[in-house]
Point group: C2
Chain length 395, copies 2
């Protein structure tokens, strides 16, 4: 009965659901504390206390009709958009105005809005493997074609030569994600400059506009003082997608934004299209209470030291067991080389020890596995003896 | 730069935005109290006090990590889905379980989820004029073809003969909306039975499944004790889309649900597809705090007497001026016959008196205009002398 396009996706999602149900089944048998679920990127640091305070204040301060009503523009409250622009300008020396900001239903909503706005059937969207698997679905929603750049497993920086070769006159957008899911890698400023230069040259060569879409839900989650360049300063046709899911631990509330700078080609038209896309895709507007909350919490941060402790413990622990992995500089994922070529086999072996990890094929990078370390420190500490047992099967 | 599909929509939406900006411009010149804006369906009755109380209680009761986190299923919290099912069963004698409920980002989100789940390119979706113009955009999102049944201006009940003729082997869905936007009409039980019988017969004739999608944001907004039949009881392949936008005055918060009953053909597959569609369209899940709020407010109702007073005043007032309209039995719209064939001309004339009303062409029903009476009673009382002056131009 269902749409043809959905059939494969339903089949695949059943596999993920099966994994989730397996986790629940194991927890029932062994107790939740004896199941080590590294499969989900659901933050376990609570939202800052300021979020609760913001909600309580908003309920007292705001007229409920305005608070819970439709926003005048589908792009969100004017004051919230201005506050977001001001905050970005203060942090990054940019020159955005409220009109450049589109409040969205999380980063996933924002990516759909901008792809709907830009993509014609057959247009190509480039992503660097390993990448968040949903990019393929989002591109497919608008009959675009996802073009993959193969993974550079040496250091997981993007393969720029292959990138240059794969840009065609049909390339409409390039999605990058730094800090990266699933590797935790941060693209260096040098990488960004090279990437921008390649895109500039190709725009000239083909007489096209190629949009750089920077998917930044992990921007605030960086370690060891790593710097995340603000992409709009390096390449004019840059559109930023942001989410408060990780930075304020609000993933279920679905709140984020797009930045569409004036420097983007036909920026007014793109902004109008994003406004319409927000409406007709059924978002209508980002949840209004959440818009007001984030405007009050622009300077709040999640407790990065919590994730940092997990990062150190898991990275060191796995290295000590003999596993190979690159130390993440951001996000809350560790991308580990599977000791056998078929990483799904490795995931199955891990499950025998109640270790739940995700195969790299889900991120277009077979031979690796992703561990999300947004779990409790105890989970990590208690999982290490299990990883040691698992390692003994291979080393 | 923008996608071809978006170009017309951006052009049209500019017209709507122009109207909105015109309202703001008039308000600046004449004062907001002298501008009578009947153009928007944004409820002006505040959310029940119980909503505020629910938020405060939830903040105290719930673990913030769980409260603001991703839900385990993209369809929403299991306990919320069960509570919604139980509430429907108690009210309508249905037999739903939690698994039949998909929490959505409002009704607009729900309609997009179900159309994405069902529609192949070229599939036909039938709507009865006058209808909410977004149905065309939503259908177009998935390359479906909206097939229009012409309006029955005698009483705005659906034209069932034309409906029967226009069902083809490509008809995948029929959208109905009762109480109706823009007419305020309620489909009688007799109408529903006939409609169901036609659809049953056509399913048999063509060997197809034709889904009845009941878009019900106005279910609770009925007057004079009118009854809204619960559609799943009349036709097996019925899917209900609901929203709390009007019933709890939460339109900006984007919270509603789909009901996909077991009786629907391949219901498990359709439910799986709705789950995946919720994810890949970028909704991910309905906002989590709002899910918890509505679960606590299932028995709350908006103050219908407020809208009823507006209805009576506006309906009588306009009739007294000589305008023709059918008295609405539900929702908060009045659909008025334009005294001239080109209703856009009439809307322009009304604007001279600072009366902002929407042309029926936006609802595929030229020759009529829509007035949204979810405004203050004072707005209605003060607008009537203006309508009287306007009427003098015609009668």
């Amino acid at each position: 009965m269902i749409a043809e396009k959905m059939k494969n996706m339903v089949a695949n999602s059943s596999a993920i659901r099966a994994m989730f149900e397996e986790g629940n089944r194991l927890a029932e048998i062994y107790g939740a504390e004896n199941v080590f679920d590294f499969s989900l990127g659901n933050p376990n640091v609570p939202a800052p206390e300021a979020v609760k305070k913001a909600i309580q204040d908003i309920l007292e301060e705001e007229d409920p009709v305005a608070l819970h009503g439709y926003t005048n523009s589908n792009c969100g409250y004017a004051d919230v958009r201005e506050a977001v622009a001001d905050s970005l300008n203060a942090r990054f020396g940019t020159g955005f105005e409220g009109k450049n900001i589109v409040m969205t239903v999380g980063a996933a909503g924002g990516l759909n809005v901008i792809l709907k706005s830009l993509i014609n059937p057959g247009d190509e969207v480039i992503a660097f493997a390993p990448y968040f698997g949903e990019y393929r679905s989002y591109t497919n929603n608008y009959d675009g074609v996802l073009v993959e750049i193969s993974p550079n497993t040496a250091d997981f920086q993007p393969k720029l030569e292959e990138f240059e070769q794969k840009i065609t006159p049909k390339t409409k957008a390039v999605i990058i994600n730094t800090p990266n899911n699933p590797t935790g890698i941060v693209y260096s400023e040098e990488t960004i400059k090279k990437l921008a230069a390649i895109m500039e040259a190709k725009q000239k060569e083909y007489g096209t506009d190629i949009f750089l879409i920077s998917d930044e839900p992990y921007r605030e989650l960086v370690y060891d003082g790593a710097e995340i360049p603000y992409l709009t300063k390096y390449y004019a046709n840059t559109i930023v997608g942001y989410s408060y899911s990780k930075s304020l631990s609000l993933p279920g509330e679905r709140i984020g934004y797009l930045v569409i700078p004036d420097e983007v080609a036909d920026s007014e038209e793109v902004l109008s299209a994003a406004n319409v896309a927000t409406r007709i895709l059924g978002f209508v507007n980002a949840p209004t209470l959440q818009q007001k909350i984030v405007a009050k919490c622009l300077d709040e941060k999640t407790d990065i030291s919590y994730y940092d402790r997990n990062r150190e413990a898991l990275y060191q622990g796995l290295r000590d067991c003999g596993f190979e992995c690159i130390k993440p500089e951001g996000a809350f994922y560790l991308f580990v080389k599977s000791p056998v070529a078929d990483e799904k086999e490795f995931c199955a072996a891990a499950k025998k020890y109640n270790l739940l990890i995700v195969p790299g094929s889900s991120f277009a990078c077979p031979g690796y596995v992703r561990l999300a370390y947004c779990v409790s420190y105890e989970t990590i500490v208690n999982s290490l003896p299990k990883f040691r047992e698992l390692a003994k099967e291979y080393f």
